[in-house]
Chain length 274, copies 2
């Protein structure tokens, strides 16, 4: 049984928003203060955001196993069986520079497995827009039910991509860039997937092989509960059973419809096989 409810998850997201929103676009937020669980540099803004969640867990005495970008795995109760996966700032570059696309992402799971995520919250750190999902029940943006667009043809679709810092993989995405109607690149994975969930864009594709479970755990549930299709590439048939505590890195595709997902896959199938 899961020991965190949607209300607690939402309160955590809002507490991150309150702390981080005033720091957006400030150079202080970008100061490097250490190195995180995943090996990336930790910025001041990342640290204060994650500490906000840890303080909340301690204050409310929530029995969980915490998995975060900066602190790694923290067990708050010996008998805890609820996993809390947190990316306290997704889109750190945007947040530091003041580009208004960054988010915090929180997911709760009933076991140490990607397939057992039950609750998800993503908050837009610029405007406070709140995406939530409950497994089997649906997804909402600020309390209003969301669903993906019904776009099924790549030539009619707005496709978001992330291609930064991986020149050797750029060629892989070019067939998609040529075929899509519009290309966007916003720079915050969770928020980009949530934009597909809410019908603002039609797909998000990241073939860089860098995205960890904690980066997409929450947004994946929000997308699926909105009717979208989510796929992990460069993996195998057991990927949905991988432990949340293992930060395996993936390439991902999020699409509004199964038809659009298939069209995308068919154009990059050489890559998927690798």
């Amino acid at each position: 049984m899961i020991r965190i409810d949607l209300e607690a998850l939402t309160e955590m997201a809002r507490s991150i928003y309150r702390v981080v929103h005033p720091l957006l676009g400030s150079s202080n937020g970008g100061i490097i203060v250490g190195r995180g669980f995943g090996g990336d540099n930790t910025r001041l803004i990342d640290r204060v955001a994650e500490e906000t969640v840890i303080k909340y867990i301690r204050d409310k005495n929530i029995p969980c196993i915490f998995i975060g970008e900066e602190n790694g795995i923290l067990k708050f109760d010996d008998k805890a069986d609820t996993y809390l996966v947190v990316d306290a700032i997704d889109g750190t570059t945007n947040a530091i520079r003041g580009l208004k696309f960054s988010s915090a992402s929180l997911a709760a799971a009933s076991s140490d497995s990607l397939k057992d995520i039950e609750l998800a919250v993503v908050i837009n750190l610029s405007d406070g827009n709140l995406y939530v999902a409950e497994k089997g029940k649906g997804a909402w943006l600020d309390g209003k039910r969301i669903k993906t667009s019904n776009v099924s043809d790549l030539s009619e679709s707005i496709v978001n991509i992330d291609v930064s810092s991986t020149p050797e993989r750029l060629e892989w995405i070019i067939p998609i860039m040529k075929a899509a109607k519009r290309i966007r690149s916003l720079g915050s994975t969770s928020l980009e997937i949530c934009h597909v969930a809410s019908g603002v864009m039609d797909a998000h594709i990241d073939l860089r092989g860098k995205i960890r479970t904690l980066d997409f755990a929450a947004a994946m549930l929000i997308l699926k509960e909105s009717g979208g299709t989510f796929g992990l590439l460069n993996g195998d048939e057991h990927d949905m059973e991988i432990p949340l505590t293992r930060l395996k890195r993936f390439s991902i595709i999020a699409a509004a419809t199964e038809e659009l997902y298939s069209q995308i896959i068919s154009r990059i199938k050489n890559v998927v096989i690798r």
Copy 2:
């Protein structure tokens, strides 16, 4: 002498914001209602936005020659010598779908020449952020002086690109995509250039050869008054003297610094010569 002041230009921008903001993300806004001056489809949201400016000019009896995307050239006074260049919605796709990145762009010139733009206003239609510039005096965001970043190295820069719907030109931008630190693609030319002006991003590049003077007239002045470098490609040395009433189409580069501009040019020089 210019017959429009910054206050009037700002009031026009705010009146567009008031009318368009409630329509963002609504499907009604996307209905095609005709064809514009430039040959593109006119959407309902484009039309109501431009009509707002025309009504303002009529109500306040402003003597000017109006140049707009939907209505083309309208002379409001036989002796008018002030040119008002308006892109009432820049980023129509984003505005219709609900992606929070669209803008209105207004520039006033003392003659029918790109080089004689004296005043510029760009408003973000999602959050009301207002960029203004006055030739020789500076540029401001919501009343606060702005300047570009000091990033001079492409490998350290956040570069925004627009590559939608021009598969045959995608190859041209690939060297830039491989060399930049981060790639973004937000989908509203004026606002993308203003993000370079305010230091949020380091460059904006659009090699599609589709951008008209009315798309960049205002943002170009805002960028230059912020210390940035702006260049028109596929043109000649007289491009800055081209008439605003002629909707010639260009490829453009906006960069935070001259050094960064040079690095970008050097990587696409084969293209520039064409």
